[in-house]
């Protein structure tokens, strides 16, 4: 670019620009990068062998397994729920549609611990279904089902929220066209709807997954924190920390962080693919392409 002597646009003065960039970089380093770097450093501070030993600890292994199990159950269910909710809200008119839209968003604004306590009151011994559940010998609280339920509550909006704006923008024309050409509901969904929402859907699933794995508040209330039985990875980290086992806590935390990084890489990769969709963009200028709607 040729250097021209024209006055800078508003907010474009060199001093302002450089200060702004420096402040943001410093804050990112201080708030985000440094703590994560400390986790990695502390986890390996007594050498790789010790790290391996900590991870191999049966309680830690169990916690990892527990977290993986929770994600394996909660994420598919919430994905199905999210798709169904987005489909219902955007493709059908029914009374209570707007209310449903608001209700789906509640877990975003409610503190997870409130969800945990609420589940305690519903399924706990003194709770609403407590006696019935106990007489039927069904254990929900302080067991995997409770953890899964609490995680599902917290992550219920993730998939639906990614899909609803996109499906709203796409309207019902494509589905109507497919049906008028003789396609059944399933075929319409798999061949017409799904290909047009798949990137947003995957993005929602990834967000949902990382939140399920990292959820602490709601799960800590309903799981009972039983070491080696109902401890998920985030809860286990806290336990290790309270045991003054800092290296163990950091090692476990580094695993959780590694999971998050994998998720992040998957997300970036997906966004790349999404951007690659420019060659296969959306409707005749009526609907925005997916790469525009994913944040």
């Amino acid at each position: 670019m040729a250097k021209t002597r024209r006055p800078p646009r508003i907010g474009d003065a060199p001093v302002f620009r450089n200060t702004m960039i420096a402040v943001v970089l410093a804050l990112v380093a201080l708030i985000i990068v440094a703590p994560l770097a400390v986790i990695g450093y502390e986890a390996f501070s007594r050498g790789i062998a010790y790290f391996g030993k900590t991870i191999a600890n049966s309680d830690t292994r169990h916690a990892i397994l527990m977290t993986a199990m929770t994600a394996l159950i909660a994420v598919p269910i919430n994905t199905a729920f999210g798709v169904a909710a987005a489909w219902a809200i955007t493709k059908f008119d029914f009374p209570g549609r707007r209310l449903l839209l608001i209700v789906i968003e509640i877990p975003f604004s409610v503190s997870p611990i409130v969800a945990g306590v609420a589940y305690l009151f519903v399924y706990g011994l003194q709770g609403l279904f407590g006696e019935a559940l106990q007489s039927a010998d069904v254990k929900i609280l302080f067991a995997l089902p409770g953890i899964v339920l609490a995680s599902m509550f917290v992550t219920a909006p993730f998939v639906a929220r990614e899909l609803i704006p996109l499906m709203q923008a796409q309207g019902r024309d494509l589905e109507e066209a497919a049906t008028s050409l003789g396609a059944s509901g399933w075929r319409t969904f798999f061949f017409v709807t799904l290909p047009n929402i798949k990137w947003a859907l995957l993005y929602g699933v990834i967000l949902c997954n990382s939140r399920v794995m990292g959820e602490f508040g709601a799960v800590s209330v309903v799981s009972g924190n039983i070491r080696g039985q109902t401890n998920t990875l985030p809860l286990h980290i806290e336990l290790l920390y309270h045991d003054y086992n800092a290296v163990g806590a950091f090692a476990a935390a580094s695993i959780l962080a590694a999971l998050a990084v994998v998720t992040l890489i998957a997300k970036v990769a997906l966004e790349r693919r999404g951007a690659g969709r420019v060659r296969r963009p959306s409707l005749a200028g009526t609907a925005p392409s997916i790469s525009e709607t994913t944040p």
Binding site: D173, A177, T179, L181, G182, A183, P281, L283, A284
Partner: protein, 339 residues
């Protein structure tokens, strides 16, 4: 396939309601549903397609009552206003979609042969590997038509088929659609708010207002004998003058017009701007010229009658413009409607 609508009723919370519409469409006919927005024309089309279901009345395809047949079994080809092409499929895949999901199994070679045939029919050979976003609006519209025709529909339904296109493309596609219709002979119903489009294309025009049919007829019939002041106004520019009727004669100033079957009392006289002759002297409605608007092939003159009612008429480009000039307006083909 003959289509019959029998007192079809549809109510919405919004304005798009349909109030008891009955209509016969002969096999092979090309019919336009013409009306302003909110007149219920698209709702009627969607009910014929099975995308909406009427609250009352019935829709027959031939002798079969099709009212409750759902859209995927109704055998209609529907062309959406914004085409609704599947953005993730190529032009060829779009056209083949209906054949692939159909219950009648076709081999891959049969499908690709038919796709090629349809692409030739809509003059888009060689574009089958493009995506909808890579072709122009007019081409998308033709792909949408080919896709609808691919399933051998009994009826072809088009919602504002040329609404999203610019004027030149629109005129060409209009003539081209007429040609396709004449070749295939398929019963076709299309919705438009553009009178020129309806008159240009259709065998018969159905004019709708507020969810009711106000007139049905050939383009000639509706143009020469508009059934109401609404039709007169909707089909083109019209002048309106207040008149008084007594004994089937409408009077304004000293001029009288025939007003058959109009009750005595105040009424309205309508005429087209092209049906006016301006005279400097003699007989006619007295008026004063106020302004002139120039157009490529004529001049549009704005005049005021003595009692302040405005008249617009077309004159030759040579018409001399003198603001304030007095003269007499002579009207051909006047039509009198009750108020």
């Amino acid at each position: 396939m003959k289509i019959r609508l029998d007192t079809v009723v549809k109510t919405f919370d919004t304005f798009r309601a349909v109030h008891g519409v009955s209509l016969d469409i002969e096999s092979g006919e090309l019919v336009a549903l013409l009306g302003p927005s909110g007149s219920g024309k698209t709702t009627i089309l969607r009910m014929v397609a099975g995308l909406e279901f009427p609250d009352g009345g019935a829709i027959y395809f031939g002798d079969e009552n099709a009212t409750d047949i759902e859209v995927r079994h109704r055998g209609v080809g529907f062309v959406f206003q914004h085409y609704a092409l599947f953005p993730h499929m190529t032009v060829g895949e779009n056209i083949a979609f209906g054949m692939k999901v159909s219950k009648t199994r076709r081999s891959a070679t049969e499908i690709s042969g038919r796709v090629e045939h349809l692409l030739r029919l809509v003059q888009l050979e060689g574009l089958q590997d493009r995506f909808p976003a890579q072709i122009s609006g007019g081409q998308r519209q033709r792909v949408a038509l080919a896709r609808a025709l691919a399933v051998d529909p009994k009826v072809l339904l088009l919602d504002e088929p040329f609404g999203a296109l610019d004027a030149n493309v629109r005129r060409d596609l209009r003539r081209w659609l007429r040609k396709i219709h004449d070749e295939l002979g398929i019963t076709t119903l299309f919705v438009t708010h553009d009178q020129a489009e309806a008159l240009d294309l259709a065998d018969r025009v159905v004019i709708l207002d507020k969810g009711k049919i106000v007139q049905t007829g050939t383009p000639e019939e509706v143009c020469r004998a508009p059934a109401s002041a609404f039709v007169m106004n909707f089909l083109g520019d019209a002048n309106r003058l207040k008149v008084t009727v007594s004994g089937e004669k409408a009077q304004i100033q000293n001029v009288t017009f025939d007003a058959p079957d109009i009750a005595d009392g105040p009424a309205e006289l309508y005429f087209r701007p092209a049906d006016v002759t301006w005279r400097e002297g003699g007989h006619g409605i007295q008026a004063t010229i106020a302004r002139v608007i120039d157009r490529p092939d004529s001049r549009r003159v704005l005049a005021l009658t003595v009692d302040g009612q405005s008249i617009e008429f077309d004159a030759a480009p040579e018409f001399p413009f003198r603001a304030g000039a007095h003269g007499y307006v002579d009207i051909r083909r006047p039509r009198v409607y009750p108020v």
